[in-house]
């Protein structure tokens, strides 16, 4: 069974204080690892897809990295508008040849204080 564990559950940072969020996973045949941002009362917003160990992607103050067992979302010099819940998800190859639905972690609730 595919599993995703995110840590910490919650993180409070001062504006400008860089940090990293962790996503540990086990999956039978990884097709992709996804990071989403979710604001209260809204659906998840797509951030990144990573496909293979060693891959990195960046967007503004966010950088996602991937190893064979975990992914990190690094946030550099965050601003209050970066406050949100960050969700990690994995997608496995389906036995029929396509891809499964996403298996999500519980998320990390990030608060950036001015």
């Amino acid at each position: 069974e595919d599993q995703v564990t995110q840590s910490p559950e919650a993180l409070r940072l001062q504006e400008g204080e860089s940090s990293s969020l962790n996503c540990s996973y086990t999956v039978s045949g990884l097709r992709g690892l996804f990071w989403y941002r979710q604001d209260p009362g809204k659906g998840p917003e797509f951030l990144f897809t990573l496909y293979s160990a060693g891959e990195e992607k960046e967007k503004e103050r966010l950088k996602a990295t991937l190893t064979k067992k975990e992914s990190f979302l690094h946030i550099t010099a965050p601003k209050p508008e970066d406050s949100a819940t960050y969700l990690c998800a994995v997608q496995a190859y389906h036995s029929g040849g396509g891809a499964d639905g996403l298996t999500f972690g519980k998320g990390t609730h990030l608060i950036i204080q001015p």
Binding site: F34, E45, A89, A99
Partner: protein, 113 residues
């Protein structure tokens, strides 16, 4: 362009009633997914459509849940004999195909009294 839309945004019903939740995917997206999210949890996969057919319904919790996508575009999630434990936010997502990133709608908050 227009994103994924879901209606209604909120639905309150009584235990035992039947409800339908609608999802309009992004135009041209052939893959459509339904998820359920409870408070403090990540979304939980329910069912995946490729075109008109349900390619994977392994996440549906029991036979009270059913979903259709008759013309390969709009989808409806149907819940019979609702229970209080069905209360959650129901999210719909679509993608170009199963090998691309999924884009989520705003969700329907279902409350079963």
């Amino acid at each position: 362009g227009a994103g994924v839309s879901q209606t209604p945004s909120n639905k309150v019903t009584e235990k035992g009633k039947y409800v339908e939740l609608r999802c309009d995917p992004i135009s041209g997206h052939t893959a459509l997914y339904w998820y359920r999210q409870s408070l403090g949890q990540g979304p939980e996969f329910l069912i995946y459509f490729q075109g008109t057919g349900a390619a994977d319904d392994s996440g549906l919790p029991n036979d009270r849940f059913f979903a259709v996508r008759p013309e390969g575009s709009v989808s409806t999630l149907k819940i019979q004999r609702t229970e209080r434990g069905d209360s959650a936010v129901y999210l719909c997502a679509s993608s170009l195909d199963s090998n691309n990133e999924q884009f989520f709608g705003p969700g329907t908050r279902l409350t079963v009294l």
